[in-house]
């Protein structure tokens, strides 16, 4: 069963800048795909397409077998099936850490709070639940972002440079957590320069000049 299917996708910006050329990629549940490539190779663009944050110029992107047409349908799929971890952990500064984790949850407040607490504890940041996100360290912030990515119990987790700027020990911890997600039969795609992913990834692919190799 294929969870993410990117088929012959080309992405152009302003009609003259081609970032991705005829890229195809499939990811199955339980796989951790390490997406490599130099800066500007198109990794983030490919993750945006995979996460339905943008649409391809040519080609198709299917999540769970369904091609997503409209923006509202894409939002619905993101809400229910996809979890994101960004390079720079983004939080709403007006909310507490746990409230930020609860953001994607469709559950009633008390159930969402219990689930969020459980996830924060799993990633060893339970004690920071009621703190403002601005008070979190880089490693804590990335682990809180991991907790938030799992809040809607996604089948597909997309992570963009999740270990960038972290010390070696914390980066290893984040890699381990992402590997655990794959073991839970989620499909995980990580775009990263971090060679440490070689140890935990089930597969690696490389983007060069907008084209995918090693797929």
């Amino acid at each position: 069963m294929t969870l993410l299917e990117i088929d012959s996708v080309t992405k152009e910006f302003d009609g003259d800048l081609t970032v991705l050329r005829d890229v195809s990629l499939t990811v199955r549940p339980g796989e951790l795909v390490w997406l490599r490539g130099r800066s500007g190779a198109g990794k983030t663009t490919l993750l945006s397409l995979a996460g339905l944050l943008s649409s391809p110029t040519h080609g198709t992107v299917r999540v769970d077998g369904a091609e997503v047409g409209t923006a509202s349908r894409a939002a619905e799929v993101r809400r229910s099936r996809i979890g994101f971890v960004f390079q720079k952990p983004l939080f709403l500064p007006a909310l507490s850490t746990v409230d930020n984790v609860m953001l994607p949850s469709p559950l009633p407040h008390s159930e969402a709070r219990a689930a969020a607490d459980q996830l924060l504890t799993r990633f060893d940041v339970g004690s920071r639940a009621d703190h403002r996100p601005g008070l979190l360290s880089g490693g804590e912030a990335q682990r809180v972002a991991l907790a938030r990515a799992l809040m809607n119990d996604p089948a597909l987790v997309l992570a963009d440079e999740p270990t960038a700027g972290l010390d070696a020990e914390t980066a290893a911890l984040v890699r381990t957590h992402l590997a655990e997600l794959a073991h839970e039969q989620r499909a995980v795609v990580v775009a990263s320069h971090d060679d440490g992913f070689a140890d935990v990834a089930t597969r690696s692919v490389t983007l060069r000049n907008g084209e995918l190799t090693d797929a």
């Binding site: 944050l53 923006a71 939002a75 993101r78 809400r79 709403l92 007006a94 953001l103």
Partner: protein
């Protein structure tokens, strides 16, 4: 997560960190609450005076001759009554009378009051009781000043007073060519206090004034002049009159006709005309302040909306990435602005009401204005921010994420 938590979180953050514009709205709304009360009072009073109430429709008239004593007889009164615009003419001479409460033990220590006829000019002076219509003041009723004989208005209305007077039954020519009044025995006239007027309003007739039915006033005045009412009207005449005019607008015209007839006249309308620029200015300030709230809230809405969208692009992108629909993002952002405006309005109304009560008293509060002000800034903020908010919700999620 419920949108209300998002809105509440952002509201508290705004009030903590970006409080300049909300504070300005608070002060502006507060100013409107404070300013609108007295202005609305003044306008309502002016309207009431000019229409329902008779003060502005009343002209005081005095005889105007070189010897200073050309009496206003019945014939003259009828002539004045026929002038265009004149509704009623009441002889308006005052008399000092001795009055005491009927059930008061101190009958040997009566108060001396100045008695006047009750006319259309007086009902607005009533502070307690229901005698607001000059027609309703019966022959056995009286209107006294609040505080008469050391009693409050509540203690006075409905009680009886005794007025001491000396009626004259007839005047006959004596054999020596002079005139002799018959009667002249002091009598006690029992009157019920129908209403109490507030002396502090600056009554038309000075402190210690009391009012009775015009016919009774004429009888008492005749007694004090040692004559009869018939003779007063026929030959002796009155010193002054109060002329009731159909509307405040006609007062000037009636005064002109009275001058042409050789009579002095004065009216509150002509006095108020001198004040009208000040009233208009106050009125304008009150109205402008209300529209200023709307206008500034619209501008603030545009500014805050633009600033928020610009500074929160990564947050908006995050919400999109987490699956928030365009409509939901718009609702959250608009809800935040509405909440900020509403809290500012609530604080402003409360602050304004507090100041208004302290400065002008609770009566100056305008519940309608305050109710209108509560949703106004929030709505205006949202309307002002419509363009940036619409722009924000339509941004593709990946482009807003790249701004982070």
């Amino acid at each position: 997560m419920r949108d209300s938590r998002l809105i509440r979180g952002e509201l508290l953050r705004t009030l903590r960190r970006h409080w300049a514009m909300p504070l300005f709205l608070v002060l502006l709304v507060g100013f409107v609450v404070v300013a609108r009360g007295p202005v609305a009072d003044a306008r309502a009073s002016a309207t009431a005076l000019g229409t329902g109430d008779g003060s502005l429709r009343t002209v005081s008239v005095w005889a105007n001759t070189p010897d200073g004593r050309t009496p206003l007889t019945g014939k003259r009164i009828r002539e004045i009554g026929r002038l265009p615009g004149v509704v009623a003419v009441t002889p308006y001479d005052s008399d000092s009378v001795e009055v005491y409460l009927a059930d008061d033990q101190k009958r040997d220590d009566p108060r001396v009051l100045t008695l006047h006829p009750w006319t259309a000019a007086h009902p607005r002076l009533v502070s307690h009781g229901d005698s607001t219509d000059p027609e309703r003041l019966a022959a056995n009723e009286i209107v006294l000043a609040d505080g008469f004989a050391g009693r409050s208005a509540r203690q006075l209305v409905g009680r009886e007073v005794v007025v001491l007077h000396t009626p004259i039954e007839r005047v006959e020519r004596s054999p020596d060519g002079g005139e002799a009044a018959h009667g002249g025995e002091p009598r006690e006239l029992r009157l019920t206090i129908a209403a109490v007027h507030d002396d502090s309003l600056g009554s038309l007739d000075g402190p210690g004034s009391a009012y009775v039915n015009p016919k009774l006033a004429a009888e008492l005045h005749a007694g004090s002049r040692a004559t009869t009412v018939e003779r007063l009207y026929a030959t002796e005449g009155f010193d002054s009159l109060q002329v009731e005019v159909g509307s405040a607008e006609q007062v000037g015209d009636v005064q002109r006709q009275l001058r042409e007839a050789g009579l002095y006249s004065a009216s509150i309308t002509s006095q108020l005309r001198a004040l009208s620029p000040a009233l208009s200015l106050l009125d304008t300030v009150g109205s402008v302040a209300l529209w200023l709230v709307v206008g500034l809230a619209l501008v603030f809405g545009l500014a805050m909306g633009t600033q928020r969208v610009r500074s929160r692009l990564p947050e908006i992108g995050l919400l999109k990435a987490l699956g928030f629909s365009e409509g939901r993002i718009f609702r959250v952002l608009a809800g935040e602005l509405f909440a900020v405006g509403s809290v500012a309005a609530l604080l402003g109304v409360s602050l304004g009401a507090l100041v208004a009560v302290v400065v002008s008293g609770a009566a100056s509060l305008q519940p309608l204005t305050m109710a209108l002000l509560l949703p106004l800034p929030g709505t205006a903020l949202v309307v002002g921010a419509l363009i940036p908010l619409s722009y924000a919700r339509r941004l593709p999620p990946d482009s807003v994420l790249r701004h982070g």
